[in-house]
Amino acid sequence: MKRFISTFLSLILLFCLTPLLQSSDIFPYDYKVEVLENGLKIVSIPLDNPHIISHYVIVRSGSRNEIEPGKSGFAHFFEHMMFKGTKDMPREVYDDFLTELGAGTNGYTTDDYTCYFVVLAGRENLEKVIKAEADRFINLYYDEEMLKTEAPVIEGEYYASVSNPGRRLFEVLRDTAFMKHSYKHTTLGYLQDILDMPNQFEYSQLFKKRFYAPDNTILLVAGDFDHDQLMEYVKKYYSGWEKSNYTLVTPEEPPQTKAKRAHYEWPSKTLPRLVIGFHGPAFSDEKIDKAALDLLAETSFSRSSALYQKLVIEEQKCLSLYASFADRRDPYLLTFNAVVKDEKDLPYVEQEIIKELERLKKEPVSEEFLADIKSNMKYSFASALGTTDGIASSLAHYINLTADPGTVNKLFDFFDKVSPADIQKMCQKYFVKTNSTVVTLSGGKTK
């Protein structure tokens, strides 16, 4: 294993010309972190890749922050409103500015954060981008009418996904598994809340005040630029942004005390689906739990696992089978997902998944297989770092979790340390029946 790490790192280091030569970190690029007086954190990764610069503004607010009833989906809605411009640079001017720049730009909202990115060519354009982005974060302006016009777009986005049964299954799972925490709803939100968005102008102002502030935001810039020059621009344009000082308290999810189950009848023909969720831990780079569970997900549900081979390749009961232990800031769900070919096999597939989890409580995984998993995770991460934007987008995920770019190295250090016994212990801790939620979906009626 050690030899592998050494070879791997020597090659990945070739990727950039400013590697951390003395380090064994999985993230091989030099980065600098600075914090302005108003709390805005800047993570800067100058690279020798010519021309391209990725400019990411990470607001640490997502659907997790939608703690009041009736406000589900609001972080995502607010992301849309962030494209409305300012008095100095109204939407049309902002759009034309980005258009002329030819920048790849957009935003996305997750459970925990909202990210606004501009991928541009040419370091001569960096100051213009920082100026425009700082302007809209500090001086965003829209009136009630603009909000009412934008709100139905979310309804349209909901409709764009309405024919996707996987999305529906996921909505039902979260709604069933969580009682209090805002992870109960998805990022898109409940339809009834989406329909009420046109009436939420005042709340939108409150949402902005609470969360769109420098002390809740990280600016991540990677690519072809000079760090000192970047900081000069950032200080010039972002220093006037006022702190929020708001502290979010998310509702604590009570421990689940009995097994839950739900079924959703899809209105037309579809492949049946099954998801089994267990409440798990929050992301942490200080405790080994989450790292061990990540490895467990791969151990028994990756394409090379015995269960996948049995259900997907040999018996051909499933179209797909995978486990997903997403990184979240608060305790979240560990899920086992299957798309099944025949509805009558749903109970069998469920039983096989449970059987595998029971086996893992009793039998440790082999050291050899665990080494394969660790190798897979490292090569996967390395592949994602193939472009400037790949570096920025990969790191954005981890920065959101702890506000520390070093967290990715800490996590991979944990992966190296996880033993078969750690995985077994985590299985015993989390995969108990009373902590489970099973949701099935099938469809027969057609029109």
């Binding site: 070739l14 258009t99 720049l101 030819g102 060519a121 009412k148 592949s383 029109k447």
Partner: protein, 511 residues
């Protein structure tokens, strides 16, 4: 179209010049060509094994065979390893083999870290050159293909379903006129012997371009060349396609389905592709009208930004397969192309209004052209934006290969060179020459299809209502024009079809 420049690389040349050769001319149509792009110090190696064969090569009555045959290569075992063993070996390398099958082109893709190149290539090579064709792989992959057609495409992804209906409608009776996955009827009848026969007939040297990019060892190209030389020489002649049929007026298919949202795709064939000089001017026009997933798009501004009706509205000068992804994919080249408009799902109550909007804006584009200031801004935009098109190794290689297909040395570089020379008049001339607003194929997925048909045929006014009671006056004034914009829809040109009837057999179902 410019003559397709074909290139070849012989083993002898490669041995001596592995680090400098980018590509070599093809000396015989029966030998493979290659594209080796060495990137010093890059720890990744990307593969694109391109096959000039696609669903147009499905024999009559065996539609779906190309996809099935190539899927068994990408997702099945080789003679020496079962698929289970392959997955186990690929797993620690975090790699796989990808496949896309299009009308006239298919591509196997893969990316691997140089640490694992030798192990990966040994398996990859056997998957393609010595496939196992096992019965259990065949059964699994065929079932998946059937399920995709019958359940997933029709019931779970209306946006894609709409695009596929448009294809069926636009290419009825044409070799493009069936889905790459085939039909339920033909797919069910396919056998392992069909798959083997297809492979033997088409997986031959002259059909293949070997593409490799990254920090591979100096002797790697020569080894690949040697391995692929074991394939039979020969090539599948490029199919001589019939002329594309232009729609006569508005030819509409409405798929009836219980859904709260209407999906729309529309378009018509065009006699232009990336090989033509006019393409660059037309690209500016279509980018202005509907650049994919960018606020630059006029349709996006009119339908989404100003009125909040849906998530996005775009237009394309040629075949475009990306949905949520931003940049165009590679290795989807075709001899014949089409212009299209994609209106993302919107509330059924707004379907008539949005269709009128799209067609009226198209009419204005054709009649009035692109405004001078929008021409300038769009040209500048494209000059910068296309610099982002090829970021990953696989994208760089893919664009290079597509450049060859369309007769360019480097299409993106050519674009940078040509665009500054294109004038406003060139763009408006291209619009007049290639676009029209009266003859379109239109694919719709909605509920109560018959009532929508009636409204279309009768030109029933379709006013829109807003959540915002204070919509800007200019928007409301414009709405008055949109809501009564007459569409010349003849009842005999509207077919209402049950959604579940699609893909049972070839073409647009009768009901």
């Amino acid at each position: 179209m410019r003559k397709h420049v074909k290139l070849v690389l012989t083993g002898a040349i490669v041995l001596g010049l592995a680090f400098t050769i980018v590509s070599c001319r093809k000396i015989s149509p029966n030998k493979f060509s290659s594209e080796f792009l060495y990137r010093e110090g890059n720890p990744l190696v990307g593969f694109r094994i391109l096959l000039n064969v696609g669903s147009v090569n499905d024999p009559a009555g065996k539609e779906g065979l190309c996809t099935l045959a190539l899927s068994i290569l990408a997702n099945g075992g080789s003679q020496s390893l079962t698929f289970k063993e392959i997955q186990k070996k690929f797993y620690p390398m975090a790699t796989s083999v990808g496949l896309s099958v299009e009308k006239e082109m298919s591509v196997f893709t893969g990316t691997v870290h140089v640490d694992n190149l030798e192990k990966y290539y040994a398996i990859f090579k056997d998957m393609l050159l010595a496939p196992g064709f096992r019965e259990d792989d065949f059964k699994r992959i065929k079932t998946n293909q059937l399920n995709f057609l019958e359940k997933t495409l029709v019931s779970n992804m209306d946006e894609q379903f709409g695009k596929e209906i448009l294809n069926l409608l636009m290419y009825e009776g044409h070799p493009y006129g069936h889905h790459e996955a085939g039909t339920l009827e033909t797919l069910k009848a396919l056998t392992v012997d069909d798959v083997k026969a297809f492979y033997t007939e088409h997986f031959i040297q002259g059909n293949i371009t070997i593409g490799v990019i990254g920090g591979y060892p100096w002797d790697f190209p020569s080894r690949i060349i040697k391995d692929f030389s074991a394939l039979s020489e020969g090539h599948t002649p490029q199919l001589s396609l019939p002329e594309q049929r232009m729609p006569e007026g508005l030819e509409i298919v409405i798929a009836d389905k219980g859904t709260p949202a209407t999906a729309m795709s529309m378009g018509f064939p065009v006699s232009i592709s990336k090989a033509d000089d006019d393409y660059f001017a037309l690209w500016i026009a279509v980018s202005h009208f509907g650049e994919h997933r960018q606020s630059l798009s006029l349709l996006f501004q009119k339908i989404r930004e100003e009125r909040g009706q849906n998530y996005g509205d775009y237009a394309y000068a040629d075949h475009f397969i990306q949905g949520r992804r931003k940049f165009p994919a590679q290795n989807y080249c075709r001899q014949q192309q089409y212009f299209s408009i994609w209106i993302r799902p919107l509330a059924n109550s707004n379907r008539h209004f949005a269709l009128r909007q799209a067609l009226l804006e198209l009419k204005k584009l054709v009649e009035e052209g692109i405004p001078e200031e929008r021409f300038e801004i769009t040209r500048t935009y494209l000059l910068n934006y296309t610099r982002l098109y090829a970021q990953t190794l696989s994208e760089i290689l893919g664009w290079k290969m597509d450049s060859r297909y369309y007769g360019h040395k480097d299409f993106l570089a050519e674009f940078q060179k040509r665009l500054p020379q294109i004038m406003h008049d060139d763009v408006n001339r291209a619009i007049k020459k290639y676009l029209n607003f009266e003859n379109l194929y239109i694919a719709l997925i909605t509920q109560d299809a018959e009532s929508f048909k009636d409204a279309l045929v009768n030109n029933t006014p379709s006013p829109i209502t807003y959540a915002n009671p204070k919509m800007p006056e200019e928007i409301l004034e414009e709405d008055k024009i949109y809501q009564v914009f007459p569409l010349d829809v003849k009842p005999e040109n509207v077919r209402v079809v049950q959604a579940i009837s699609f893909f049972q057999k070839e073409g647009v179902p009768k009901k």
